[in-house]
Amino acid sequence: MKDLLGCVMDIGEQMLLCGAEVHRVEDSVKRMCTALGAAQVDIFIITSSMVATVQIDDDTTYTQSRRVENVGTDIEKLHKLNNLSRAICKKPMTATEIQTELSNISLTTKRYPFWIECISYAIIAGSFTLFFGGNWIEALLSLLIGALIRFVVSLTENMLGNKILAKCLCSFSASALAFLCLRIGWVDSVDMIIVGNIMTLIPGIGLTNAVRDLFTGDSIAGLLRSIEAVLVALAIAAGYFLFIFLTGGVDA
């Protein structure tokens, strides 16, 4: 059971890393532990840490905790982990079986290649420029800037290792490129280009999950996520302010 608990914790940790809500992870871990033969399960999970204690019989209990860092979003992996946890609940597996399945999932789940992510950033920025009322020229420029921002994102995230500072620099570069277009005279206003590019940076998933976590009673996790989302939004604003402040607003 000791090894099994470790495996279950691994699954839970991976689910959190893929962007699952706390409620779902707690529920999955609890069900798996019960299915694997625990008499009592006590779990406490927030977005950055998890603790689980299982009681097998009167004098055997095990406790494990995990520190969870670098939460991202990987829906495909989450889907597979969810299936694995359902399978375990239906038909209990041994620790080695779970380990094999887990490493299988990690090996077979691929992300989209970098160039497709660049295109995604480009089409998000371009389409939201149009969406909020920009014209075709603004949309085209926003498209190009979006693709460039993807490079800035990977550069800053690898070099800084700090999500909030990275977002600030991304928003700084987006504003700089938009004002450059204005200076050259391709567009009359930077507003729509910046709005389109802000959409790629905004923590939409953070806010949605925050609301869902708050409602299901995971108040601490929900608050943590909300604060993070607000901080990221402020960082985006700060990047924009920093550019205007440094250049005094480039007038056309």
Binding site: G19, A20, E21, R24, T73, D74, I75, E76, K77, L78, H79, N82, N83, T109, R111, Y112, I116, E117, S120, Y121, I123, I124, S127, F128, L130, F131, F132, G133, D191, I194, V195, I198, M199, I202, G204, I205, L207, T208, N209, V211, R212, F215, T216, A233, A237, Y240, F241, I244
Partner: protein
């Protein structure tokens, strides 16, 4: 429907598709997820024609409808609800009001900053309430389902 509204509905679809790719959604789910963004904005526009002109209320209704869509699709495809909810809500993120809020703040245009800021907050709250309304309904459904099983 005006050209502007058609452009918005199409770009809502493309924008959601872009986010679905970034979130590593794959296969048929990619289409279902981006379709959510499309339906969200279609409903938003249609509500305007049904003379619901109060934007926060429109946001609330659309957010609730989208959450319901996500819950149903998640059950059909046996996958976490997150998959569909985060992508379908993308067009509702008040990106432009957020931008204007900070632009006014920088111009020290306090009256418009406060007006826009409160408006952005209203939209965000409407969005959250929409998600919560369906969350509450689903919790009741799940509880009833569990009771039935026993």
């Amino acid at each position: 429907m005006t050209t502007n509204e058609i452009i918005q509905i199409v770009t809502a679809f493309i924008g959601s598709l872009g986010f679905a790719i970034l979130f590593n959604v794959r296969g048929i789910k990619l289409l279902i997820a981006s379709l959510g963004g499309f339906l969200a904005w279609l409903l938003f526009v249609l509500l305007g024609y049904l003379s619901v002109h109060n934007e926060p209320i429109r946001y609330f209704i659309v957010a609730a409808a989208v959450s319901l869509y996500a819950e149903i699709m998640a059950r059909i495809f046996r996958t976490p609800t997150t998959t569909f909810i985060i992508t379908a809500l993308i067009p509702l993120i008040p990106g432009s009001s957020l931008y204007y809020t900070m632009a006014y703040a920088f111009d020290s245009d306090m009256a418009r900053f406060i007006e826009k800021g409160i408006y952005t907050l209203e939209l965000a709250v409407a969005l959250a309430l929409g998600i919560l309304a369906i969350g509450a309904v689903m919790q009741v459904v799940n509880t009833l389902h569990a009771v039935k099983k026993k």
